[in-house]
């Protein structure tokens, strides 16, 4: 079972992602900010990380960069999910180390396709 980590400070968003992905047979774990996400990822295996941008404690950009610098986490694909639809925001996410960028709200089919694609779960 592919394991997905959702990092978002909004409980509603986490619940939404969890419901959509669990229905598709993914294992979903949650973190409420970047630091918590990083700590979870260091102690558990994840196949994909979905990461919010604007969060307390540690924001999304910093989090993604930390993932890329961490030996054991560097390879994990990360999708940043943000409410900002501006190109510069996407580019900032990519510069930080994200592999893809989705704009909230993400419709469920799109989210499922994205997660399947990035985990290779055909």
């Amino acid at each position: 079972m592919k394991q997905i980590l959702v990092i978002d400070d909004a409980a509603t968003v986490r619940l939404y992602v969890r419901q959509v992905l669990e229905a598709e047979g993914f294992y979903v774990d949650e973190a409420t900010n970047g630091l918590e996400g990083l700590e979870k990822a260091l102690s558990h295996h994840f196949d994909l990380v979905l990461c919010d941008v604007n969060m307390p404690v540690m924001d999304g950009y910093t989090t993604v960069t930390k993932f890329r610098q961490e030996r054991t986490l560097a390879h994990i694909p990360i999708v940043m999910i943000s409410t900002e639809a501006k190109k510069k925001d996407a580019n900032r996410a990519f510069a930080a180390g994200a592999n893809d960028y989705l704009v909230k709200p993400v419709n469920p089919d799109k989210l499922i396709l994205e997660v399947r694609m990035l985990t290779g779960e055909g």
């Binding site: 993932f67 890329r68 610098q69 986490l73 960028y101 709200p105 419709n107």
Partner: protein, 914 residues
């Protein structure tokens, strides 16, 4: 309600609180960037989450507020009172909507207008960004959100066939019939609910629309039952198909642009099967054969079979409708994806979604239709292992392009390795997903070479190759665009059975905080109350065992057991009470806003200081406190704190201070509200009390200033008429006192003229189980809440002195007035000569009063039930309780009894003479 909506509501409430608090802080410290950040983040989160639902007015409004906050954050804008007011108004409205969501699970029908209006005002304040960047959505050539034209199904099928053929420019047999015409336009017009009153005439507008060729009408929502129907509200959903230029339509509907959607119609838009569901085995056979023919491109067989079946089918049925469309499409637009989608609809009973196929299909008909279809089929040059839809190919290509784009973005040295690794992981996974497994190894090779040579060149080349190889799978470019936002679909509600197996990991997901329905806690509380009472039956039982049956041993055992049950039930009660405890901040947090709004209105400057917000008390106590506290605060703001100039003249700082302080004191909570306003003028109070007939002339002279101030608390003292000319306070303070007493609390008022006023509330931590003391008067038993009893003494009848017609006795060198409970209750007095009289000493405000009874009994725990119905109007009783032996105990409200008006004045007068 779905769990997600429930979560959204509760999360939004928390965030709105944060927002409200932050905005008030900003008012004091407009430059506090930490606060701006906090508010921004809260608002941002609300906006993000609201987007998951179809709450457009809310999302729009919050988004506008977020942009404004963003401007504040970036110092593109500086804080002003106007901004503060507007933001507060915005979040008041959002809070209101959240409340509505909780009951209706939808925004109020009239949310649209205020949302628009407020959003426009918010946006007007945001300075334009100088280098405004294009939205990603438009940059990546995404289509504007697709408006559903599913309503076309309401037009007759024959009419739609006509429109369909006309759009393609062919006749019924698929022969060209003139030029393909420019598309018709679908117009959907939903007048606002007040349309009939706002000068709109929907019918007139629709009848005169240019080039109307088709019409349908529906309701925006099902009509309510006739009793609730408001016929003056417009609930029409008017649909038109117009053969006209878009500009002419826009012009025609210009006055109601928000209520109108104008959509160009594609040929496939008309292809909507309709009819009654009818499933039979015969269709399943047909479906199987049809799939085969379709796969073999044997369209002739398919057409024949469709014709045969159609002759047999009920023409009103869903399958018949599909078959008719199938025939029509076979003649005019025989493309596999289109035919396939239509056949699928036979099974799913849902109209096909043409949007992904639309431009593709139109394009193909315009060109030579068959050539391209066959070329698509022939492109299996890559070793695919599964069917991949055009939409999936598009996503795949977009992902690869994104990876290519990422490679040209500069990156920090130490992140480079991570980028290459994660990128190759991403690409490999995507390749697996689309079935191009063979290429995964190549990616790995390129990755190694890239890491070795510190160059991503090989990866770039590989990605480029893959992209060009798959180009033929791709639909036209527009289809890669993001799909329109949609509310949560049924998919979101799937089960989580799949992950249940992973038990150990799952444990970590259990939240540390449980949110529990209050009703459940209340039930627990009621049950523990019953248990406490039931437990009280055991001592009775023990006594009976001993006295009636003479089994002393058993009696002793029952008593032992009782003490165990007693201890456990007390612990249980404590534990449950703990669950119900809430910090007083729950009510305190409303105050900053109250103080702000009121002081502004009155042109006063007031600083509110709140201390001890974390102090906890029972939820019911906290809630019952809200109104009295607001009342007290209002008094302070309204009558206590003076206008800045008056304060200046009095040598005080211009800004007044109101201090609210909460702290625990044994098993009680003390709340202290102090202001540094002008205080209460005892002379005016005395005068008013005299005018009201609450005080006789002689008392007027006799009572002290402090006692005079207490008069404010008397029922009947304050009415609206005296508020305006009374320069102190007094607005319904008796109401406040009653509310506080009702929850088992007490109130103390003190004031110094010119320096301020203090109100001190003392409240029990919980009000479920009450300790009462049993007393007997005239051979009847009553309960007296223990918290009013200061002590019990027995006095010699000879120690009673009469001072001014009032019985008194001396307690620790203090003269204490005495009242006889039998007289208060108008019961038969016990005149037998006794050695000593039992006296309950109770505290009323600052004074002690002795209450003579016939006998005391032990203290017991009871569940106090307030008097209801007719009895509810009786004064002097707190309620009733069921005792362990099944009898009912009346619990007295001694304060009210003793504080009968005449009694009160007599006592105060008396005290002054001591």
């Amino acid at each position: 309600m779905t769990p997600i909506l429930a979560q959204f509501i509760s999360e939004s409430r928390d965030l709105l609180e944060t927002t409200g608090r932050g905005l008030l802080q900003l008012e004091r410290h407009p430059d506090d960037s930490a606060v701006i950040d906090e508010v921004f983040r809260a608002v941002h989160t609300i906006k993000g989450a609201s987007g998951l639902f179809d709450f457009l007015p809310m999302t729009r409004l919050v988004h506008a507020a977020e942009d404004l906050l963003d401007a504040l954050r970036d110092h593109r804008l500086s804080y002003s009172a106007e901004i503060g007011d507007l933001l507060l108004a915005t979040f008041d409205l959002v809070s209101l909507w959240i409340d509505v969501l909780e009951t209706d699970e939808a925004l109020p029908a009239d949310a649209e207008e205020p949302s628009q209006a407020l959003a426009v005002r918010l946006r007007a304040l945001v300075p334009k960004e100088s280098d405004e960047e294009a939205d990603l959505s438009s940059a990546t050539a995404s289509a504007p959100p697709v408006k559903s034209v599913a309503w076309l199904k309401d037009l007759p099928e024959s009419q739609r066939v006509g429109f369909y053929l006309r759009t393609l420019g062919v006749d019924a047999e698929g022969r060209p019939d003139g030029e393909p015409s420019s598309p018709l336009f679908g117009v959907r017009y939903r007048p606002i609910r007040d349309a009939f009153f706002s000068g709109e005439d929907p019918l007139f507008v629709v009848c005169n629309a240019p080039g109307v060729v088709g019409r349908a009408i529906a309701l925006t929502a099902p009509l309510p039952p006739p009793t609730e129907l408001d016929p003056y509200q417009c609930s029409l959903d008017l649909r038109l198909v117009c053969d006209s230029e878009r500009s002419a339509l826009v012009e025609h509907f210009r006055y109601m642009a928000e209520a109108v959607e104008i959509t160009p119609l594609h040929a496939l838009d008309y292809v909507i099967p309709t009819g009654t569901p009818n499933e039979g085995p015969v269709y399943e056979d047909f479906m199987e054969e049809a799939q085969t023919w379709l796969a073999q491109n044997d369209l002739a067989s398919l057409e024949r079979a469709a014709q045969t079946l159609l002759a047999l089918a009920n023409p009103e049925s869903w399958p018949a409708s599909i078959l008719r469309w199938l025939q029509c499409l076979l003649k005019t637009q025989p493309e596999r994806p289109v035919l396939q989608a239509l056949l699928d609809a036979m099974r799913t009973q849902q109209a096909p979604d043409w949007i992904p196929l639309q431009r593709h299909a139109d394009e193909q008909t315009a060109a030579d239709s068959s050539a391209r279809a066959s070329s698509t089929q022939g492109t299996v040059t890559l070793h695919k292992t599964r069917e991949v839809s055009p939409a999936e190919w598009a996503s795949f290509a977009a992902l690869l392009q994104t990876q290519l784009a990422i490679l040209v973005i500069p990156v920090e040295e130490e992140c480079w390795r991570g980028r290459i690794l994660s990128m190759s992981e991403t690409v490999s996974n995507a390749l697996r997903y689309v079935g191009l497994v063979d290429l995964v190894d190549e990616v790995a090779e390129c990755r190694e070479s890239a890491l070795e040579h510190k160059s991503s060149e090989t990866l770039v080349n590989l990605l480029g190759d893959i992209l060009s190889d798959i180009a033929m799978h791709l639909p036209l470019e527009e289809d890669t665009a993001e799909e329109s936002t949609s509310p949560i679909s049924h998919k979101a509600e799937g089960g989580s059975a799949a992950s249940a197996a992973d038990g150990t990991r799952r444990e970590q997901l259990i939240p540390k905080v449980l949110k529990i329905d209050q009703a459940r806690i209340d039930l627990l509380m009621d049950l523990i109350g019953e248990l406490v009472v039931a437990k009280n039956a055991l001592p009775y039982l023990a006594n009976r065992a001993e006295q009636q049956f003479g089994v002393r041993e058993l009696s002793r055992e029952i008593k032992e057991q009782y003490s165990i049950v007693h201890r456990i039930s007390q612990e249980l009660q404590g534990a449950i009470m703990q669950v119900r405890m809430l910090p007083v901040s729950n009510i305190f947090q409303r105050f900053p806003r109250l103080v702000r709004d009121l002081s502004r209105k009155l042109n006063k400057r007031i600083n509110l200081v709140v201390e001890g917000e974390e102090t906890e008390a029972d939820k019911n106590i906290i809630e019952s406190l809200a109104d009295p506290l607001i009342h007290i605060l209002r008094n302070s703001i309204d009558h206590g704190i003076e206008l800045p100039e008056q304060r200046k003249a009095a040598g005080k700082p211009e800004e007044g201070t109101i201090r609210i302080k909460a702290y625990p004191d044994n098993d009680r909570v003390i709340i202290d509200i102090t202001d540094d306003g002008k205080g209460i003028d005892p002379q005016i109070v005395k005068l008013k009390a005299f005018e009201k007939g609450l005080l006789s002339e002689e008392r007027l002279e006799a009572i002290t200033d402090e006692e005079a101030i207490q008069l404010v608390l008397l029922p009947g003292f304050s009415t609206a008429a005296i508020v305006s000319d009374l320069s102190g306070r007094g607005v319904g303070m008796d109401v406040v006192r009653q509310a506080v007493n009702a929850s088992g609390g007490s109130l103390r008022l003190s004031s110094t003229l010119g320096q301020g006023t203090q109100v001190k509330l003392s409240l029990p931590l919980s009000m479920t189980v009450t300790q009462v003391m049993g007393v007997t008067v005239a051979e009847q038993r009553f309960g007296v809440p223990i918290d009013v009893v200061s002590e019990t003494v027995k006095i010699n009848p000879r120690a009673i002195n009469i001072i001014k017609h009032q019985e008194t006795f001396v307690l620790r060198e203090q003269v204490v007035p005495l009242v006889r409970l039998a007289r208060l209750l108008d019961l038969h007095e016990n005149h037998r000569a006794r050695e000593e009289l039992p006296v309950l000493v109770i505290r009323i405000g600052e004074e002690l009063v002795g209450v003579i009874v016939d006998a005391f009994h032990e203290g017991i725990e009871i569940i106090l039930k307030p008097m209801e119905g007719f009895l509810g109007k009786l004064h002097g009783f707190s309620g009733t309780a069921l005792l362990g032996n099944g009898s009912v105990l009346l619990v007295l409200d001694l304060r009210t009894l003793v504080l009968g008006m005449q009694e009160y004045t007599r006592i105060t007068a008396l005290n002054t003479t001591t």
